[in-house]
């Protein structure tokens, strides 16, 4: 035959949908990062910021009910115990962000390690770890989280670890798949044929490549963990004796009367929680497209 390559349909017009995939993170991404940085700042410096004391009861004599709508003194209003909803929302960021962060770091570390080992050594190690992931994934995550909180205590660190365990299986699966994909590549085979030790190959050749798709999923994973913590708190199963968004929302909606007459108690924390989760999801999604990570298993 000739030099021509007649196998493909020539000069097909670019279809809609795949157009405009430029390699930029976009303004939306930076807006989301900005919001997240504000939340982190608030969480870290909550005690030093000029906001009211979240545990103080602002009861004014001669007023009908303790809960009041938003005003200049109390931006988000006050709750049934006359506490400042704005201050409590700001303090609530502490638990949510801490739990989300520790959980995903734990999940990444444990899941990543197990996944890379499984993907690299294959054989029985792979079989054991994969089965472990499968068992973990056989529980709906909230059910597993509830079961574990029932057995353990409800300290900040424990809750973080429980949610971290939930992240192990999805992260591990992704790490395993990515490792297997890279372990077949030329540069790894080359390194091996040059006599590099397993440890060296894993650390020097595989880890950097597996880390990219994993880091892309870290933001999404953190969003999942924050939602899960919110769910637990809403059910009264999260960190005890702390201000949490889930707990505040529960307080604001435990009776239809409260929800009807003082909607601000529930809706302001819902708004902040939503924006935070949305920002994490959006930023995570942008990062994923940016690095072109296909897997969406988190």
């Amino acid at each position: 035959m000739s030099t021509q390559t007649p196998t493909t349909t020539e000069a097909a017009a670019p279809e809609p949908g795949e157009a405009a995939t430029k390699k930029t993170l976009g303004i939306g991404f930076w807006v989301c990062i900005g919001w997240l940085l504000v939340m982190v700042f608030v969480a870290v410096f909550a005690t030093r910021l000029p906001i009211p004391d979240p545990k103080f009861n602002f009861i004014e004599p001669g007023q009908a009910g303790p809960s009041k709508g938003p005003s200049t003194a109390h931006w988000f209003g006050t709750d049934k115990d006359a506490r400042d909803v704005f201050a409590r929302t700001m303090y609530g960021a502490r638990v949510s962000l801490t739990v989300g962060f520790i959980a995903i770091v734990f999940g990444m570390f444990v899941g990543g390690t197990l996944g890379i080992l499984a993907g690299f050594f294959r054989g029985w190690i792979d079989r054991i770890f994969s089965f472990m992931f499968l068992v973990l994934l056989s529980f709906p995550s909230l059910v597993l989280a509830i079961m574990l909180t029932a057995l353990l205590d409800r300290k900040l660190f424990t809750i973080s670890m429980i949610l971290g365990v939930l992240a192990v299986a999805p992260v591990g699966r992704l790490a395993r798949a990515t490792t297997m994909q890279y372990a077949e590549r030329e540069f790894v085979i080359a390194a091996r044929s040059l006599g590099a030790k397993n440890k060296r190959i894993i650390v020097r050749e595989l880890l950097p490549n597996v880390a990219i798709p994993m880091s892309a999923l870290a933001l999404l994973g953190m969003a999942v963990a924050i939602v899960a913590e919110g769910g637990l708190a809403f059910l009264g199963l999260s960190v005890e004796r702390s201000i949490t968004w889930g707990g505040m929302i529960q307080l604001g909606s435990d009776s239809s009367k409260t929800l009807q007459n003082q909607p601000w108690i529930a809706f302001f924390p819902i708004g902040v929680l939503f924006l935070t989760v949305f920002a994490l999801n959006f930023a995570g999604d942008r990062v994923r497209t940016y690095f072109d990570v296909k897997e969406t298993s988190l």
Partner: protein, 309 residues
């Protein structure tokens, strides 16, 4: 494989319950720690005997699992053991199942036309708007959506009742489940829509779609008759897999709308440290989850003639 998995899941759950928690304490409360009082010791002995706590763990597991398989899930620790766990769950499971089916039905019925609309106008205004909407729905935690919908449609507009009432006639109860069904169904619909839209757009670029166009097939007919079925594979997988997540979601929804299903029962049991109930529910949910995944494989062979096993 599924049997091995179920065995591992049950052993893990049972083991965790008995090793991490103290069953005796959960049955008797502070009395369990009060070994100096002879009255307490008597009670402890009786409880150990009643609940087989003096036997080694593997035997207890064996006794429990054989009971579980035969439909005997033991006795509740709280409420003096009445009704037995099996009876309790028999009453509560149908409600959760109804809620889940309703939720999935809403999700599927909403997502398919939505995805077809989006895919046929890819990157146009309608499509962009719906992508933004799915993003928001996914970012909204279930309990938040539950409260928003309850506030809007039950409290402000008054279209739906506020809570579920177990004693109402069937029709009324189904209507009461509708709003909770939407709380479960809408985020799932968003996930399905995004997935199906992407797959539809890929399918619409296939040669056989151009072929169908060249036969003079109309656009709606191309979407329904030619593009939809080949785009359904990951959709079906995800619908199956999401069922598990929806069980998680139903816990929250049942709590908000006061539906006595297994989700709210689980939360109550956890708060009361009633382990047999927790154990039974976790096992039932995990089993259902594993079986659903098996079912997906079967459905696959039905919709794709190329898969022969």
């Amino acid at each position: 494989m599924a049997i091995t998995l179920l065995f591992a899941v049950s052993a893990l759950t049972f083991g965790a319950m008995n090793v991490l928690g103290d069953p005796l304490f959960n049955i008797l409360g502070p009395i369990a720690r009060d070994t100096s009082n002879p009255k307490s010791v008597k009670l402890i002995e009786k409880a150990k005997n009643d609940y087989n706590l003096d036997k080694p763990l593997p035997i207890r597991y064996g006794l429990w699992i054989s009971g579980f398989v035969r439909g005997d899930m033991g006795v509740q620790f709280s409420t003096d053991g009445q009704p037995p766990v099996t009876e309790l769950l028999k009453e509560r499971i149908p409600r959760t199942v109804t809620l889940l089916i309703l939720g999935q039905l809403i999700a599927v019925l909403v997502s398919i036309p939505w995805a077809l609309l989006s895919a046929s106008r890819a990157d146009k205004f309608v499509d962009r708007l719906s992508t933004a909407t799915t993003f928001m729905l996914v970012a909204l935690p279930g309990f938040a959506l539950a409260i928003i919908l309850k506030y809007l449609f039950a409290i402000r507009l008054g279209w739906f009742p506020l809570t579920y009432r177990a004693l109402d006639p069937l029709q009324t109860r189904l209507f009461q489940m509708l709003l909770p069904g939407f709380v479960i169904g809408l985020p799932a619909a968003a996930i399905y829509q995004r997935l199906l839209r992407t797959d539809l757009i890929t399918t619409l670029q296939e040669d056989f779609i151009l072929m169908a166009r060249s036969k003079g097939v109309s656009k709606p007919r191309i979407l329904f008759k030619h593009a939809l079925r080949p785009s359904m594979f990951s959709f079906i997988t995800v619908v199956g897999l999401t069922t598990g997540a929806l069980i998680g979601g139903s816990i929250v929804v049942e709590t908000v709308f006061r539906i006595p299903g297994i989700g709210s029962t689980l939360v109550e049991a956890v708060l009361r440290h009633d382990f047999p109930v927790v154990l039974a529910i976790v096992m039932i949910v995990a089993t259902a989850f594993v079986l659903i995944n098996l079912l997906i494989d079967v459905v696959y062979t039905i919709i794709d003639p190329r898969v022969h096993r």
